[in-house]
């Protein structure tokens, strides 16, 4: 491409044009991504000796290992995030199947748009909705009393299950969209052929549909996992004081206690965990990062 457009420019001007195009990208990536993360790494690996004097140390990481609360929270956050990702996939898959394969024409695009609409609205608003639905004086506990299922309103907020519901809800779009586009590209005649050859529902799903949709499943799962593990709003509001979410620890150290060294170490641990799981997911399914991000 450039051989044609570039041929019109003499070499120094082409270099200048390239530098001008590179400048904003370099300022952005160096100034807001690379250097800040190096700063975070440096912060996490130093200890204060006297005011203004620091030395290299693993103290912050040792605190993380020694203090059960911290690594419990860490493991718990990872566990709930994996569970939330799996639940999102299980709920989104049939819905995506319905949209991609069963409805046709106008109804199909209408349903897809209906899926998108809630996610154009701020996560704060969606969480407010769940709080109104689930708190002790809220809609659902009241409904349960009216139906005679419980005698008094039960508090449905501040449980792990509440956090899970909130996380699944808030991630749904990022699973449905890649799944729908992966399933749409699956030729119906393949399913018909499998059926004619004696396949039943499960064997067709497992041998034909899942392998075909794998890129969409992986893309959706990776995005949902990353959003979930980095989420702060949903766990703290729906989980209350019991949420024990790792981003909350980072916030507490950084903003409340002003212990930046410890907060930086926690931030790095979360970054490593999130990157590691994404990497394992990509390796297991032999996909490239760039493709997955573009798909999502």
């Amino acid at each position: 491409m450039r051989a044609e457009t570039g041929a019109r420019l003499d070499a120094p001007r082409a270099r200048l044009a390239l530098l001008l195009l590179l400048a904003p990208a370099v300022v952005w990536l160096a100034g807001l991504i690379v250097l800040p993360h190096l700063e975070l790494a440096v912060l996490s690996l130093r200890a204060r000796v006297t005011p203004g004097v620091y030395e290299f140390s693993f103290n912050q990481y040792r605190t993380f290992v020694d203090e059960p609360l911290y690594w419990h929270t860490f493991v718990r956050t990872a566990g709930i995030s994996i569970l939330a990702t799996a639940s999102t996939l299980l709920i989104a898959f049939p819905a995506a199947w319905y949209i991609a394969k069963i409805v046709r024409g106008r109804a199909q695009s209408v349903l897809l748009v209906l899926c998108l609409i809630p996610f154009w609205v701020s996560e704060t608003v969606r969480t407010l909705g769940w709080m109104i639905l689930l708190r002790e004086s809220g809609v659902l506990p009241r409904l349960l009393v009216d139906l005679g299922i419980t005698a008094v309103p039960v508090e449905m907020l501040y449980h792990d299950a509440t956090i899970l519901v909130g996380l699944v809800y808030t991630s749904m779009l990022f699973m449905v969209v890649p799944l729908v586009s992966a399933l749409e590209s699956l030729d119906d005649s393949l399913i018909e052929a499998a059926y004619d050859l004696g396949g039943n529902g499960w064997s067709i799903l497992w041998n034909i549909v899942v392998p075909h949709a794998a890129p969409g499943i992986v893309a959706g799962s990776i995005v949902v996992f990353m959003l979930t593990i980095g989420n702060y709003l949903t766990p703290t509001l729906l989980g209350g004081k019991n949420s024990l979410w790792f981003t909350e620890q980072i916030y507490t150290q950084f903003i409340t206690r002003f212990n930046w060294e410890q907060g930086a170490a926690f931030g790095f641990l979360l970054l490593i965990l999130s990157t590691a799981i994404v990497w394992v997911g990509l390796k297991l399914t032999r996909q490239s990062f760039g493709d997955v991000m573009r798909r999502a």
Binding site: W28, Y98, W120, G230
Partner: protein, 284 residues
């Protein structure tokens, strides 16, 4: 399975039932937010006590949305921040798109991968890293030249920087995807007809990119307006709407939050409609 295969009616009803439940799940939280904006009670909770517009226009004991100065101010703060983020993201995203699609240089593939990295960094970490780095810069400037650089302290300039840091990745992807499909011979034709490089860019290339630019702008604005994680770490004394709402929700919200949420829903739906009328332009 698919309609061309025989399905039992039980199967058909289960599928339809599941999909119906799925959409109820999606919309019930939004519905209750909207409904309780009109409930004549001091707390957004059942039972229904009759219809009121107090939470929009109330000015006395019940402070409605249009009398709630801090809340309105936070909406305005969000709009200003989102406008800056949109402007910067679309401008830099366009430059990046040309860099990725038109230029050849060493390290290009590494750079294009690095451009996607902000999308996998959790927002909280993006926030604290920029906070720490900006604070180091401010301290350095203070020590070296004895100047106080206020924009490097927590506040709106840092919020804009933090949101821009990852939203520009999305803008880049959106604009690059459309630029990739551009037929370069159109530019060649413009040159042959005597256009200068900038003439061809403004009259041929840019109009072609317009749908992607609009799409990228709408997405950037929305993502900035809704951002919470990164913003929370970088915010100073004037909170944008999401941070303001979060603070009030922790204290136990009054229905004025439902009222402002209803406005957000209507605004988002309008933006969505505008985008969807240009099919596949946004690529998102």
């Amino acid at each position: 399975m698919i309609p061309s295969l025989p399905r039992s009616s039980l199967q058909r009803y289960t599928t339809a039932g599941f999909v119906a439940a799925f959409f109820v799940f999606l919309f019930v939280p939004l519905l209750v937010v909207a409904v309780f904006a009109f409930n004549n009670a001091n707390y957004p909770a059942p039972p229904w006590r009759g219809f009121t517009l107090d939470w929009f226009f109330g000015g006395g004991a019940r402070v409605g949305l249009f009398a709630d100065v801090p809340l309105l101010k936070s909406v305005w703060t969000s709009v200003v921040v989102a406008a800056w983020v949109t402007l910067l993201s679309v401008a830099v995203g366009t430059a990046n798109a040309f860099l990725l699609e038109r230029a050849q240089f060493r390290g290009k593939s590494a750079l294009s991968l690095l451009m996607l990295a902000p999308l996998v960094i959790p927002g909280v970490i993006l926030g604290i890293s920029i906070l720490a780095f900006a604070s180091r810069l401010a301290q350095f400037a203070g020590d070296m030249w004895d100047v106080e650089l206020d924009f490097l302290r927590p506040g709106l300039p840092l919020v804009v920087a933090g949101q821009f840091a990852y939203i520009v990745s999305i803008a880049t992807l959106t604009i690059a995807a459309r630029l990739k499909r551009f037929d370069v011979t159109l530019e060649e034709a413009a040159f042959n007809l005597g256009a200068s490089r900038s003439g061809a860019f403004w009259t041929v290339t840019l109009p072609y990119l317009k749908p992607a630019l609009i799409g990228a702008a709408a997405i950037s604005f929305l993502m900035s307006f809704e951002n919470f994680n990164t913003t929370l770490m970088l915010v100073g004394s004037d909170p944008p709407l999401t941070v303001m709402m979060y603070g009030r929700m922790r204290e136990g919200a009054s229905p004025v939050l439902n009222a402002v949420s209803l406005f957000l829903m209507v605004a988002s739906a309008l933006i969505a409609l505008v985008l969807l009328r240009r099919p596949r332009a946004s690529g998102a």
